[in-house]
Symmetry: C3
Subunit: 290 residues, 3 copies
Amino acid sequence: MDSPWDELTLAFSRTSMFPFFDIAHYLVSVMALKRQPGAVAVAWKNPLSSWFTAMLHCFGGGILSCVLLAEPPLRFLANNTNILLASSIWYITFFCPCDLVSQGYSFLPVQLLAAGMKEVTRTWKIVGGVTHANTYYKNGWIVMIAVGWARGAGGSIITNFEQLVKGGWKPEANEWLKMSYPAKVTLLGSVIFTFQHTKHLAVSRHNLMFLYTMFLVATKITMMITETATVPFALFEDALSRMLFGWQQQFTPCEKKSETKSSFNGTGSSTSKPIAVASDTVKKKHTKKT
Amino acid sequence: MDSPWDELTLAFSRTSMFPFFDIAHYLVSVMALKRQPGAVAVAWKNPLSSWFTAMLHCFGGGILSCVLLAEPPLRFLANNTNILLASSIWYITFFCPCDLVSQGYSFLPVQLLAAGMKEVTRTWKIVGGVTHANTYYKNGWIVMIAVGWARGAGGSIITNFEQLVKGGWKPEANEWLKMSYPAKVTLLGSVIFTFQHTKHLAVSRHNLMFLYTMFLVATKITMMITETATVPFALFEDALSRMLFGWQQQFTPCEKKSETKSSFNGTGSSTSKPIAVASDTVKKKHTKKT
Amino acid sequence: MDSPWDELTLAFSRTSMFPFFDIAHYLVSVMALKRQPGAVAVAWKNPLSSWFTAMLHCFGGGILSCVLLAEPPLRFLANNTNILLASSIWYITFFCPCDLVSQGYSFLPVQLLAAGMKEVTRTWKIVGGVTHANTYYKNGWIVMIAVGWARGAGGSIITNFEQLVKGGWKPEANEWLKMSYPAKVTLLGSVIFTFQHTKHLAVSRHNLMFLYTMFLVATKITMMITETATVPFALFEDALSRMLFGWQQQFTPCEKKSETKSSFNGTGSSTSKPIAVASDTVKKKHTKKT
């Protein structure tokens, strides 16, 4: 147990997120907010609202996990140091003269470094969420997965919800449906760490943290360099979906019948789309199969 | 106290909901979800989203009551058995080959049986909510009514809210206004059981549970067989509303004036509708009166 | 410490809000609800929904602060006396024959008295929120400011949110952005009382409560009499914003560039508005400066 590998991973798993990784996380989140159209104008017109949105971008995952566990959503405000850190980053990002921060951030190496460090914080958040949920529900492994997922990738849900309230976001069903890549990879990590925590996965946590973080950083940087949005899970997902749901494609006629029956209960306008979607879904599966 | 009637009702009030009544509740809820247009297509495209919506349909009332009492909304996820039960019912309902479940459910007797058993679970939920709220607020009878109501009929509110977030539901004021029949009957039951719990109603709980459940099942099955949506409370409601608010119909001129005054503060477009509504409300009351 | 001034302010700070000031607060809130177009028609069609909205108008701030601190939002329902008081005021306001209450309230002196007493309750709410939040987080002064602000001015947020769910409110970004006068003055008071509570402000609480309440009442009545909506903070805000963000107006070219860059990431339709807003913001600042 004293192999250099174990020492390395153990030292890695004991790294403190506080000063530098948190800064990278805040920087990436605030820059993503600034990239949104109109964000700069909002910051000029009403700095308080822009600051609030920036805080939601930085601490959204923690807020969502607090809501799901009925803890005070304001808890993140009790950590004055992190609040001041994120606020100062928001301030220099939006109000730095001549927009130096954005110009510095526009260089690819800086973006790669910041994005990689942000992915490291994701692992810490998932582990923290899983461990925290386990203190509430001893064998509630579904809760552990959900909380780890929420803390790791819940920021987008919170910000979408805020934009919905602010009216800046017109929700569409398919936006809500398709999971983004971070949501998928965070769900995978939450499942893995939950099984590790419930001793169903015979691997030490620090090794798992190291490997999962390396996987996160590698995929993220690869996607940023190649500027591709294709999720490396496509094959895995396709196999899983075919294993779970795909074995019915031979029953397509029956399935079609049920779809038609279900569509009879709705107005023609709203049902025309889903049926088309379903049919081209079936088509896609067929093409994949052949 | 040893009359056969008491023994019957006592045994009935001790019936466990777990295996069969819960299954009926999940089946009815998931079938109601599948009846929605596009639900099948969503289940094919994104099973996770469909599963989440199905869980909200099955456990919505409990989630709402947890939110109202500041308990973890994820608590329902900690009950792994019920989650797996509901998930398997969702799975076989949506992905059963040749759609056997829907075809079996399309027979009226099956629907009647399932709907009746679901109504039985409603009584248990109301009683559980009232008792649970009483542990928080000793003499907060308003809270007890609200929590019992939320746990018994809160599923529709949660699912409407979810559809609002998903953008699949365009809310309209009158949709929010008119209470559905389950909401009304659940409110009545919540009031009754609250008064029984606060000893204002001199009847033993098991008798009340038996009678209320019989009333629920009878009205529900009658409404399903006769395919009518007329609420049996119409007369009672009319009498109550006339007793509380109806004695002003002789002051209609004054009432009209106030409406006109209040309408001056709004934009002409939005006020035209309410006034029309109010006027035809007054008309309807008059016609009822005559 | 026994000066008559201290005795006066001490006695004032010990005034009980319960019977009269609460009644004034409920009356002002319910009258503001009744002024909304269509509120009277809703009260006639569905009294329960109107009663629920009225309760949200009366207790919205407390509900929001409960949500933020993960306390039961139903706690306000446990105070049966206040609920019955507010309900009776809602009843006589909406259903009083010949609309006597509205006619009596339409006299300016009555409105001034009620509005002044409502402002007094605002001070009590802020102090209560700050003190309550301090029991949770010893040195979380940001939380104390937020909770005091929420309890003092959170009613509008809750009611806007309810209208959003009911579909009666089409949100617009700028509605959310600009803070109303009560929100600003409540934020100021929350900051003041938080600093007083954390001993950063060397003034006794009862003096501060007296002075802040006098300031609230004076500004409110002045605004009502002169029927002006100009906030007396305009100069202060302008100086603060120029001190914090204004020193970059010499970098307007750089700022413009950044705005253009940020606008490239959005669709042309949605970005055209914010840029215009930003540019006229810059213009306005220039005109202010000259």
